[in-house]
Symmetry: C2
Subunit: 151 residues, 2 copies
């Protein structure tokens, strides 16, 4: 952990990243609200669970995938369960844990959110940059990931 201060180009890039990402999230959340749909975080969880298939996921596995704190996952899953979008199953070999699985109406909700979310992504990002530019952007952002991954 060095103590150096950032170069002007670094500050510019950082400021852009902070501002743009917040704008994009805000616009997308607004679109979801306008469609009477739940927030982005719900999509993230439903998406992960849909990818996981019938086996479902343990709550602790969701923590890193959706970048939520442990209590955040716990409470979000509770809300999803109340709405019947996921179900919690006891797991045989670990009495502390549970497995969370997406339900049919969870899959349906995911599709409905995606109709709006996907359109938002296309409008806010896909329409603004070429395919090559999108790949450049993804590569540069990839270099900022934690943990860093070579590509």
């Amino acid at each position: 952990m060095t103590k150096t201060l950032p170069s002007p180009e670094t500050v510019t890039a950082w400021a852009r990243l902070m501002r743009v990402s917040r704008q994009l999230v805000e616009r997308t959340e607004d679109a979801l609200k306008a469609g009477g749909l739940p927030p982005l975080a719900w999509y993230d969880v439903l998406h992960e669970l849909a990818e996981a298939g019938e086996g479902g996921l343990r709550p602790f596995e969701l923590i890193d995938r959706v970048l939520l704190a442990q209590y955040g996952v716990s409470r979000l899953l509770a809300r999803l369960e109340v709405d019947g979008l996921v179900e919690k199953l006891p797991v045989s070999d670990d009495g502390r844990g549970q497995t969370v699985r997406i339900t049919p109406s969870g899959r349906d909700m995911r599709r409905r959110i995606w109709a709006v979310y996907g359109a938002s992504i296309a409008n806010l990002m896909g329409d603004k940059l070429s395919a090559a530019e999108l790949e450049t952007l993804a590569t540069l952002l990839g270099r900022l990931r934690d943990p860093p991954i070579m590509e």
Copy 2:
């Protein structure tokens, strides 16, 4: 507002942007907390007010600059005022409004936050990309801004 769904490259770039920006914010907020310093939003406001100089800013001018809702600005300024980091002055030609000005200890706090925030920016972004890459990144992100600005 088209209804098209996004291309795979768009989705990849979007996912990276969402994940990376959240990671960077989280790591930076953690660094501030570890240093006993207030959140990033405080820096944003103090920074804008410092740039504005002795004339200060009206609260409504801060809304777009720091991307906070009106009530968010109202409450954040109230907290900053309690801590003596800003002061509110009545404005002569508009009895509804006020002017907010940074105080000396506000400037000092800004400097102390920057010592940590700047180091975080340097570590998380400056150390990972070259100057040319940072400029490419900033340019691409600039194209996603709202409103769009030609450059």
